[in-house]
Symmetry: none
Subunit: 207 residues, 4 copies
Amino acid sequence: MASSKVQIESNIKNEELINVRRQELVNAAVKLFVKKGFHKTTVREIAKEFGMSMGALYDYIRTKEDILFLVCDHIFKSVSDKLEASIKTEKDTKEKLRNAIRDYFIIIDSIQDYTLLLYQETKSLNRKDRNYVLSAEMELTNIFEKIITQGIKEKTFKINKRTAKVVANNIMVQGQMWSFRRWVAQKNFSLNNYIKIQTDLVIDSIS
Amino acid sequence: MASSKVQIESNIKNEELINVRRQELVNAAVKLFVKKGFHKTTVREIAKEFGMSMGALYDYIRTKEDILFLVCDHIFKSVSDKLEASIKTEKDTKEKLRNAIRDYFIIIDSIQDYTLLLYQETKSLNRKDRNYVLSAEMELTNIFEKIITQGIKEKTFKINKRTAKVVANNIMVQGQMWSFRRWVAQKNFSLNNYIKIQTDLVIDSIS
Amino acid sequence: MASSKVQIESNIKNEELINVRRQELVNAAVKLFVKKGFHKTTVREIAKEFGMSMGALYDYIRTKEDILFLVCDHIFKSVSDKLEASIKTEKDTKEKLRNAIRDYFIIIDSIQDYTLLLYQETKSLNRKDRNYVLSAEMELTNIFEKIITQGIKEKTFKINKRTAKVVANNIMVQGQMWSFRRWVAQKNFSLNNYIKIQTDLVIDSIS
Amino acid sequence: MASSKVQIESNIKNEELINVRRQELVNAAVKLFVKKGFHKTTVREIAKEFGMSMGALYDYIRTKEDILFLVCDHIFKSVSDKLEASIKTEKDTKEKLRNAIRDYFIIIDSIQDYTLLLYQETKSLNRKDRNYVLSAEMELTNIFEKIITQGIKEKTFKINKRTAKVVANNIMVQGQMWSFRRWVAQKNFSLNNYIKIQTDLVIDSIS
DNA sequence: TATGAATGAGACTTCATTCAT
DNA sequence: TATGAATGAAGTCTCATTCAT
């Protein structure tokens, strides 16, 4: 997996404790960020949800922005881990793509609040952290691109390589669309429905 | 056009003056919002860019959020007006869809900073204003949906009506993708290139 | 006099108001700094003594350190203005030096709390501001050095130029001593007494 | 020697351990205080430099201020011990004064950072500790006063007793001047130079 | 005796909004 | 109608000190 070790400084020496507490912190923060957005959530609220004092919270991070980064990193890893696991299966390429799309959409659906958060607050990160998140996103996109490229080699898909890149990106945003256009997508379709329609459209457009 | 008259209260009686000033205000604000985001832009900065005092600014709005709404409304109307104009031409349906997609993508490209802004800051609006913007967005989507639906009737497109809705939404987000995934889209493709690839994919998937 | 215009940014546009308010601010701050020192005085306390809200206070300065600088600048100017005025009189050189020492010591005595403050808190300034204050101090020292140097030329004083520099500095610190060693100086001597003794010692050592 | 036993409470029973550790503590703290000043140095930093945990540190002191007191006390004793040792020699009085001044200036020079610290941070001590340091300072001054007084009795020096007190204090501050006006003193003179000039001035003024 | 995670009060600073002029 | 000084609540972050282990 990606996992270039996140480096956020901490006053705490016990590394294991850092990991445990940061996980708790992410859980606390995500709940609030989803509800109110990053800017309207105060550190005090996060500390309260975190169940510790403000001082203790700041033993695990340096700035409020660090919390957002931890959250973004966590969300990305959730998707990434699950998707990579699902890819491992042996299937013919077209089937593999169908499955990848399906699994990806299901993952997105299961964490849709997070997805929304990820795409709305990324811009609040500093340059370095934002780049980290973007490159993480790109890794995900590459998974789809690779499958399609393989299909091209096998003559399963009749598009060129550049188009493959566009299609891979389309799949990504169509997944995200399920979250951030939920007012139209989820009002009109069941998840299975939506998956079937989108998958067919994609396959049709490249076969 | 859409334009259910925006209702933001003002101290000023002269309606024409209100409109002129608000347009200036939008221009000032948009520049700053694009650069720094809504939350990190201060009202003082807006007033300065606006070229008036804080007091004067507050004669035209009630809260900072009102400014965001004016901006969002303005952006949406820009897109909407231009797109509706482009639709008016008499062509066969497939050509009409191609043209609509092309024009839409070109509009998006010409105001890509605004697009980004629209999709990142909408959540900072209050419920009422957010719904207004969302419904405006839906109107736009409907333009594409209608063309496709007509194509279905004419047997030009061989998909069903429900799929038409998905395709229309896909077109919308693929246009937006040009802005908010610019780091990959615009790095790899020219606008014309991108338009051609996406249009072909769409047409292929529904023909 | 010195008065290289102090440049501290302000939100306020009316320059005269800035000057008036900053003078009030200095008066408020000095009282507290003298009593509790710079670090132990809170901005809130200063605002209260200042008689305005914290927000208003921060319209006239940028950081707490700016307040310290304004105070230091004000103290220095008080001494400098008064001393330069006293030098203007026409007298023979030895008498001129006696008078300058006397006036300087009297000034120091009249603002001894400030003197103490100046020499204890200067280090809390940033590099630029500290240098400004130090060079202001040096200007003062130069006044004495010049008188002595003139006496040397006139053969009134029989020391060399390098020693003159030391003597000028000695006069400076002996004046300051009246403040920061007050527990011994002021316990044992009246101001007039102290002035006479120190002046005689200086004159004796260079005549 | 002076050394009215310093009384700072400790959790530790083993007195010898206390002394050893406190000496280490002083060494750690002095380095930081000199660099950043008392207020800007955190207890955490001291503990780190000290090489122990925060808890351990607090076994040897009660408050942060205690550390400052230990440091001040240590500095004073360094000067005091060395100076008293140098006085013991048998010489005629004038020579004895010359030697005492020389030795004092040399000591000051060797610990000039400490000197600076002592005179800038003393005010941060509580009343009791501050008085202790001041009286320690006075003991030092007395050394000079006694030599001069003896010279008066022997008719070597032709000033009165009250003036002797002033001269003794002048010597003290002229030594300190070498540190806290170093930007002018040490830029223009070598230590030997400075000592010679100041000593001659003093001797001339009282002979 | 030693560790270091945790506390919590309080510090500095910002900024949307108001209102006397 | 316009100005801009003033408000004051709230935000982020720090740090001396404690205490369970």
